[in-house]
Symmetry: C2
Subunit: 369 residues, 2 copies
Amino acid sequence: MTQDITRRTIWMHPDGSGTVQVLDQRSLPHEIKAQTLTNVTEVVAAIQSMVVRGAPLIGATAAYGVYFACTEAAQQADPTAYLLDAFERLRQSRPTAVNLFWALARMQEAIATTSDFSQKADIALATAHQIVEEDVELCRMIGVYGLPIIEQISAAKNGAPVQILTHCNAGRLGCIEWGTISSPIYQAHQKGINVHVWVDETRPRNQGGLTAWELGQAGVPHTVIVDNAGGHLMQHGMVDMVLVGTDRTTRTGDVANKIGTYLKALAAFDNHIPFYVALPSTTIDWNLRDGLQEIPIEARSPDEVRYISGWDGSQIRQVLLTPKDSAALNYGFDVTPARLVTALVTERGVCAANEEGLLGLFPERKIGG
Amino acid sequence: MTQDITRRTIWMHPDGSGTVQVLDQRSLPHEIKAQTLTNVTEVVAAIQSMVVRGAPLIGATAAYGVYFACTEAAQQADPTAYLLDAFERLRQSRPTAVNLFWALARMQEAIATTSDFSQKADIALATAHQIVEEDVELCRMIGVYGLPIIEQISAAKNGAPVQILTHCNAGRLGCIEWGTISSPIYQAHQKGINVHVWVDETRPRNQGGLTAWELGQAGVPHTVIVDNAGGHLMQHGMVDMVLVGTDRTTRTGDVANKIGTYLKALAAFDNHIPFYVALPSTTIDWNLRDGLQEIPIEARSPDEVRYISGWDGSQIRQVLLTPKDSAALNYGFDVTPARLVTALVTERGVCAANEEGLLGLFPERKIGG
């Protein structure tokens, strides 16, 4: 694996076979392995088993699944039935990832323009490529607009390292390239600005390990901390800014992100440290006004709290952390109210975390406007 | 092991041999094992290797170590030199535990009243017992004063479970019996009041597993959560009070407790949930006025962040969580400013977290008063 910080999470196999390769994220950060996907069944399995994760990447992977489905359908007695079934299998691979449904709808629309299955396959491949390139561009632009924030802090500190705290993985591993929060960081690093990232380990699934891995690959200085540590670092002047992603953002600027984000926002507010949220506008739910009341929060398996996986020296192994009879509860996300968010960093610019700010960048969303 | 919630963490061996037994806390919550201590060398090893942990319990264990040392000294050519050396070994077993030095100083003073080593041994045993009983009584009284807080919430909720969130282990396992935060909880449970405890797992050392284990032994309903989850629970009305311990408390009511406590205090404050700190007055440092500036915070091994231990089905095993090359930083404690603390629960009563409140309960600490 190279140190190229713009390397992708999904790519066409370099052997020209027309198959797709993805980074196997189940084994990260302990083993670096690519997995080759050659048919729709393998795509469904890769999404289900979390070989790929992160909403944009799931959507893109499913898009290539539609390409495989079209190719396979052309060889069936009833190609239309086969294709419909393939869409259904892809749709059910991760029932909660919004980008998955969005990508599948877009693919369906694109291939509906012809009834020839060979042509459908060509269109599907081109559209999948397009979805990938669009995500790359969205993330790149978030970096373009986020970079000046880091530059200003760097200037104010006379070039001393800009200390950025992040939570979960909103880096390139959840996207195709650049990532959301990582895009401004990578662009700053490329420009020679001193940055250092405090990486929350992000229990229970320890996505901080993924963030640490990709920052390490990119040569960005970073230090892993437990989720409990950020408040102390902020109290002692060791954090200049917090930068996190979001899974869903309301029209009013409330953000739902990985559980624990709210606690860091409170600590940032208490210590007068700016708290930024980086997001592609695709995560904005323009129908919602009250994040705490309206954003549904997924309750996941208690076993993610009770057990943890790590590298035992030769393989990834799961160990039990709690008493075997103790109950556990596992919410996946929490909501940070807009009042705690300094600004939102989008692909169209930086704005205040409120309706006026967002509509300034996205005027087409004004109701009756 | 019985379900007796007042069972102790250290006790004289029931075989009458004059040896001491302790609960081996290294294997909890996965295996319940007692360890027998028969001489001063074994006591030093038990403290060093964290067979016993928690300031009061470390002090008590060391006190029994002095008893063994006196017995052993009587059989040496130079008993005084032997005893001095034993004190030094005990003193160096855990260099930062304040109760250890306090207990050793008290033992030294007690046995200085005679030059006969057999009498010294008798006095040492009696004084060790006394140290143990005093800690039990301190903890019991914290429960007596903390109980009404739980009772009032229970009454206001018409008997629905009082939802208590805690962080780390300030239960009986760190003490002899009752514990500090657990004493009001156990006393409420014994009185038939419905309580349910949200147990923060408390990375990096997962003392939440100890808390869950002892609550389970006592039959107290509880649920383990990751440290990230408390804010979300508080936002959604699922927490009635926070109750934590403290390792050091300033004259002005600032509290240093396990890293992450400050984040929970912020969330409690933001959601108008009372935040109580239970403490024996021995943790108050009457010389300090500014916790953030004056309380030194221990930086522990980064490997406690990088690795975690758990039960693999047949043994306790350590696994790596982070990329092997990533740096990690590991502060053991953070400071919660008094402004976020609703009240302090001590063995003399409940008071506001400020100098006036503390001096009201401990008037002998008034300077020049």
